[in-house]
Subunit: 461 residues, 2 copies
């Protein structure tokens, strides 16, 4: 595809003033000198620039000829006139990504496999949206989310996650981070003062509770998930949980605890914020439906496409009780006037066309195979070390021998270019036995045996 360019250049001339041509030349020279017009950049056509400035085309042609003579610009037969070598260093304009030095073998948890993003299907959905959406789709989107995506999501979540989602209550977010912040704002606005969280868990969540002006209260977790008795004593107005696959221990909340948790919420008129983390990835256990489906008026369901598709999409959603939905929607409006609309329409198309189901089915097999490679490698190289949390999700927990020094092992692994996280970094008050968290979402299956060999050396060392 040939791409012509007619760049827009800010030039100031006074049409009523004298010496129009000299003014124009001076402006062009200044633009080149300061780097606003950069080396190699094509100049606007004389016709376009003349129209833009409201002067005759002949005048622009003459000014260009002058600059050509002076060596500011170059013209080649059959191609656009461009800016010649720069005169002075332009403002520093290029920038590179912040390079975070990533280890060669990276077990960073919480990332899906970027090499398996369904590029073609996503592009097909975008194409359908851009060719068929009505003009009204290009205005401000509904700040709660477009009707199509909320309808598609309700249908998908009710079917695949066992929720009881009413599309009219759903609010789109840009991912878990924003979603949880909106929930905290709505809770605070209702007078909530304290929000409990699982200990261990993601550190950022405590900060979000605090930032909303509420007290974060740690409640310990064991192999059956959140210890609900701990919650009873806390006087919290809400609790954030990861029932499907506790982060980072990998526990699933047991049926007894689920019932106890919902009974607590009903008794205290408290809210359960359900982070449906990793729920789509389960390998050899029965699917666990969302808590929200059992108590839709006490549970705020929080989901995102960050693990199922890609974090870069920044697509998330909330299914709140009727009591909280308007406040959350209002917080979203004040925050950013709604999420980008075209991607919402693409996502709705992607779900409705069955592409999400197909992608998840494929990815489940892919991650299960990777997990099997990892578990086998760990069993072979570290036969005395226990792994847990492997029935679901994209990470597992490696329990180290009693008395191991987590930090020393993480550091030794890093020296072998293996990136692992210590379990204690997720703890508030909890004391876990020494353990490592290994994510296997993004690492290539082929690298796993070598990575585990190095990790084993670090643990033994």
């Amino acid at each position: 595809m040939k791409r012509t360019t007619s760049p827009d250049v800010l030039l100031r001339i006074d049409r009523r003033g004298p010496l129009l041509r000299a003014q124009l030349e001076r402006e062009l020279r200044a633009a080149i000198r300061t780097g606003r017009l950069r080396h190699g950049m094509p100049l606007p056509s004389s016709r376009a620039l003349a129209a833009d400035l409201g002067v005759s085309r002949g005048l622009v042609v003459e000014a260009y000829e002058q600059l050509l003579a002076e060596g500011y610009i170059v013209a080649r037969r059959g191609s656009a006139t461009t800016v010649a070598a720069r005169r002075i260093a332009p403002e520093r304009a290029a920038v590179s990504e912040t390079k975070v030095a990533r280890p060669r073998f990276d077990f960073r948890p919480g990332l899906p496999d970027p090499s398996h993003f369904p590029r073609r299907a996503w592009l097909a959905s975008l194409r359908r949206v851009l060719t068929s959406a009505p003009n009204s789709a290009f205005g401000y989107p509904d700040f709660r989310g477009t009707a199509t995506v909320r309808t598609s999501l309700a249908e998908y979540l009710n079917r695949a996650r066992g929720t009881a989602a009413d599309a009219s209550r759903i609010v789109l977010s840009t991912g878990f981070t924003q979603g949880f912040r909106l929930v905290c704002q709505a809770l605070r606005a209702r007078g909530a003062r304290a929000v409990a969280f699982e200990d261990p868990s993601q550190v950022e969540q405590r900060a979000a509770i605090k930032a909303a002006g509420m007290k974060p209260i740690p409640v310990p977790v064991d192999r059956a998930g959140l210890i609900v008795e701990g919650l009873e004593k806390s006087r919290a107005d809400a609790v954030l949980v990861t029932p499907a696959h506790q982060y980072p221990t990998g526990a699933a909340l047991s049926p007894e605890r689920r019932a106890a948790l919902l009974a607590w919420a009903a008794r205290r008129s408290a809210f359960v914020v359900e982070d449906d983390y990793d729920a789509e990835y389960r390998y050899d256990r029965e699917p666990v439906g969302a808590l929200q489906g059992v108590a839709p008026e006490r549970v705020v369901y929080v989901g995102s496409a960050s693990k199922t598709l890609a974090p870069t999409l920044r697509l998330g959603w909330l299914v709140p009780p009727a009591d909280l939905s308007p406040a959350i929607a209002q917080a979203k409006r004040l925050e950013d006037m709604g999420s980008p609309g075209l991607e919402q329409l693409a996502f709705a198309d992607f779900i409705a066309g069955g592409e999400l189901d197909r992608h998840l089915r494929r990815m489940r097999a892919h991650y299960r195979a990777k997990r099997d490679v990892l578990v086998a490698a760990l069993a072979a190289r570290l036969p005395h070390v226990q792994v847990s949390g492997i029935a679901a999700g994209l990470h597992l927990m490696l329990e180290l021998p009693a008395g191991s020094d987590e930090q020393a092992i993480v550091a030794a692994a890093a020296e072998h270019s293996v990136g692992v996280f210590s379990a204690s970094r997720y703890c508030a008050k909890a004391h876990l036995s020494p353990a490592l968290i290994l994510g296997y979402g993004a690492i290539a299956a082929e690298s796993i045996p070598a990575a585990v060999e190095r990790l084993a050396a670090a643990i033994r060392g």
Copy 2:
């Protein structure tokens, strides 16, 4: 394209329990009864469901046959087995957009023409991104914005808006609303207590200043823009201005006021937040470069693609001084972990390929023509009424005869199905002579004469 679907259904069976087939049938019936599996929806293939549940395919085939016999599902030769007519009303799942009753002739300001969104060029940019971006582009995006889009933006803004933007300081936002909130947070974190704003101006901006814990201070505006002497007395730590095309009066900040404003900022070590509103649309006056280009260490430049491309993209950017950039970037990270990445890459491609320049050149001609139609219609139908702010932007101000009742005219216009805004709705303490604000971005040129005829009747009535 044939789109097969194999939907993911949450079904619970106990593989170690008895009567596996009966369990599965019971689950499927319940899913259909409650509407989780909806009328017309295809069932998963027996192979896929068997693999998913870890049971034999024969067992699934038998269960399907039973449900077929009972009338829950239907099978047609050569197509997928689907759910039969629903048994009971499913959860209310469909939702429609909130319908805000829009008048037939809508002069709502602040909207670009949605029928002119460059669908094909935008899709081409998305296609290039989705086919050529490296896998790493699908992880978490740089929370400040991807390097490509920050580099492209710096180049574009420096060239077309006369800024002195350093790409490494740019932070992407999801539009003006989020951008200004991030700036307010960064100002507050530095100890700012009061932020001045133009009176009249957008009402939401005052709320954002207040929400960040600072005092909003109104400063009046006249035909030369913000009255800087008013600012001198205010003790404000920062001021939000729209120098290119004041909203809503349409004034351009005069050269003297620009100099005075920057002198004030330098003297007080205060910050000027420059909302470069409507800057890309100027018709018959010289382009006015951004203030930021003159004082990059005292001005925070705020821009977005909402008026140049479409609000639904939620693409905005900040060019802050070195002093504020890290705090703004950090606020962005906490808020949403960064803006969606693929659209940023598409936007960078769109700029680099010259598409933004081409689009703006086309749209400038388009809006200028619409403005001319509107101004001519107003001159013909309301010869004694003054219009102002017409040299740029997507709206103008219609000054009503002294003593006119703005509210009565707005109401009468609405009865004629003409949507206009009164100038006083933008005022904090200011008293403007009666006036109406007419946006002409989104209204069709063909509708303008009839709309003005109706408006004239409302004003005379």
